[in-house]
């Protein structure tokens, strides 16, 4: 396998081979980091940082070296840079969170071929589980939204968050099975419609379960939600002061939580990647692929359809359940709006963009879509509006920036960009940016011509005997 891979290196990978490659990647990463320290708010520098992570993934080096590089970047360099601009940690958290969701959806859509358009529902289940038990909502179940006051204490102590991380996994998996049962017999378009409806049902329930018993606080959402406690060592004034000296600015509890959630999300993401890779390469993973390919043949070969499909729904959902709990704690606020159809679609876009069925691709897809969503387009809009404040004119056109209508704000065209991106992808690279091994063969390989000798050999009477 590895031999075959080396023979088809891309030009970029050939550049990153051997010891020179190690230094090149190191130089890019170091350059990006230095640039970040110099101008912590620069978008190109952030993109260069992400790019250096991509280089680490692509460089044709030994596994442990890549692990060392990648681990060093994610666990040491990025958090260190986060001291200079806390937004980097927020960005990292969001990318890791959505990458985990995308990996979960990838199990359902990419591995088992069950198109699920309501995936965000499982995220909502996890988030609302901690939102309800981690806030004071339990005390207000008989009161209408907006009529109650916030107390100083909570029904459950904050460390219960750790337990609810598990509860979120189980709850979301259970919901996955619940969705799975009625859709077992459906495929293709019908499945997509029903799952879409399911996603909406969960959102509408969150919207309306404020009466007769106020469980979700309706459209107003639940707040405040507790964050898990941080060990007192980190919150001690001495430690914060040391961090502040490193950063050159005062570091407070909120910054600390930024780091905390970043590390948590990365940990869950790594676990999700690990599990997804192992499942893909197992009996269950093969059964999923078989169902995707031909479910009649699969069941005739002894693959239990019901159990295998339910396993896909449950395992896919469980990843997003855990992330939901973490997300609720991170935002300290959840409302039904967070779980709209567009989020489901966004996650699907990540999966398709990166490469259906490919774990690395899906993570990259999540990074691209999330960056576009919360960073690139926003930053462009901000820059445009600052230009609009000034008195300059647009080069070549001679029109003053100030007369540019706000309708042309890039952030308003988020969906347009996704649409264009998908169309371009489907035309030029339908298998995704980093396709799974299987899809690459599926979409781009000509039927292999065996040597004539091999074909003839097949016709001869085989004389191999089955031992044992």
């Amino acid at each position: 396998m590895s031999v075959a891979r080396h023979s088809q290196l891309s030009p970029l990978q050939r550049l990153l081979q051997g010891t020179p490659g190690l230094w090149i990647v190191l130089a890019v990463a170091a350059g990006a980091s230095y640039g970040f320290v110099q101008s912590p708010r620069s978008l190109p520098v952030r993109l260069l940082l992400i790019f250096s992570l991509l280089l680490i993934y692509f460089m044709p080096q030994k596994g442990w070296i890549k692990l060392l590089y990648g681990g060093g970047m994610l666990l040491i360099v990025l958090p260190y840079l986060g001291l200079f601009n806390p937004f980097l940690m927020e960005l990292g958290f969001q990318i890791a969170a959505f990458a985990t969701l995308a990996i979960g959806l990838n199990i359902v859509v990419g591995f088992a071929g069950l198109l699920d358009l309501g995936y965000v529902a499982f995220f909502a289940v996890g988030a609302y589980l901690w939102a309800f038990f981690g806030s004071q909502q339990l005390w207000h179940t008989d009161e209408a939204p907006g009529t109650f006051t916030i107390f100083a204490t909570f029904p459950f102590p904050a460390w219960w968050f750790w337990i609810f991380l598990g509860v979120g996994v189980v709850g979301a998996a259970f919901t996955g099975v619940l969705l799975g049962f009625p859709v077992l017999r459906l495929r293709g378009d019908y499945l997509a419609i029903v799952t879409l409806g399911f996603g909406e049902v969960i959102r509408v329930m969150a919207n309306n379960l404020d009466k007769p018993i106020n469980l979700t606080n309706g459209p107003q959402g639940i707040t405040p939600i507790q964050r898990p406690p941080i060990p007192s060592f980190f919150t001690s004034p001495e430690f914060l002061e040391q961090l502040g000296q490193l950063a050159g600015r005062p570091v407070g509890l909120n910054d600390l939580y930024g780091f905390f959630f970043y590390f948590m999300a990365v940990a869950i993401l790594v676990l999700a990647i690990f599990l997804a890779l192992r499942l893909d390469n197992s009996k269950l993973g093969r059964a999923w692929t078989a169902i995707r390919e031909d479910d009649v043949a699969a069941v005739a070969m002894g693959v239990p359809l019901r159990r295998t499909k339910l396993a896909a729904f449950a395992i896919g959902a469980s990843f997003s359940g855990a992330m939901g709990v973490l997300y609720a704690a991170n935002r300290t606020f959840v409302s039904p709006e967070t779980f709209s159809l567009t989020v489901s679609i966004s996650i699907l876009v990540m999966v398709i963009l990166g490469g259906l069925g490919s774990i690395a691709g899906v993570v990259l897809g999540a990074a691209i879509v999330t960056m576009l969503n919360i960073d690139i387009l926003q930053t462009l809009s901000l820059q445009l509006s600052s230009l609009r404040q000034g008195s300059g004119t647009i080069p070549l056109l001679g029109i003053p920036w100030a007369s540019l209508p706000t309708q042309l704000d890039p952030a308003r065209y988020q969906r347009l960009f996704f649409g264009l991106l998908l169309i371009v992808m489907m035309i030029f690279r339908p298998e995704g940016i980093i396709p799974s091994q299987r899809r690459r063969l599926e979409l781009h390989e000509e039927p292999a011509q065996e040597p004539l000798a091999a074909q003839l050999e097949g016709e001869l009477e085989p004389d191999h005997k089955l031992e044992s």
Partner: protein, 267 residues
Amino acid sequence: MRPLLELRNVTKCFGGLVAVNNVDLQIEPGRIASVIGPNGAGKTTIFNTITGIYRPDAGTIRFDGQNIAGKRPDQITAAGMCRTFQNIRLFHNMTVLENVLVGAHTQTPSTLWGAMLRTRSFQRAEEKARQEAIRLLRYVGLPAGLGDQLAKNLPYGQQRRIEIARALAANPKLILLDEPTAGMNPQETEAAIRLFRRLRDELGVTVVLIEHDMKVVMGISEYVTVIDYGQKIAEGTTAEVRKNQRVIEAYLGRSAPSEQGPVGEGS
């Protein structure tokens, strides 16, 4: 001898169409048996009913001492019966080896937790299944080194062989082959017939085939059942069936004798 597979009064309807009408069928262990009949006679429907893809509307199906009528296909496969399909249904975008490994689904004792934790027993089970799959591919006569090819990229005759290897991976007592030589040239057909014999002689698998090619049927079958319009019209040894008037009528038609001859499909 007690039959390995026994159908009694099995009926399967699709709306008003009675596709299989009150069919009795007995297959004794260690036999090579054929089910023949004109196109649309209901042979494949019988196979689908036996393997659980269709649920019989009436009648009992006993396999290896247990009633399997109404059970799910995967349960029936687990009980020791596996099949191939008339229009090859390999998992096209999986490798040849993976195809056979899916066939071994019921034989691989690995669990979800084993897969996640990569336990020693999981690794052992995977390795064993892999070795077994490679052996099966050799056994059905697939040239070595094709295991990592996508199934769809192989030529037709080899795909048929892979399908048989995949069915064998389920360790069946009985294997049902639905028109296994369709589309093969004479040499390929010869080799296929030899393979079917070896399945029975060397592996002790009972073989039931649906076939159109009379040369195959007459050359290999020890027992032939003839189906027409969903009903069994004859059964017996090849010699007996060949002489049966109803069989001749079903195949050659009941009309003017001038129409027989070059038009006959299986001749």
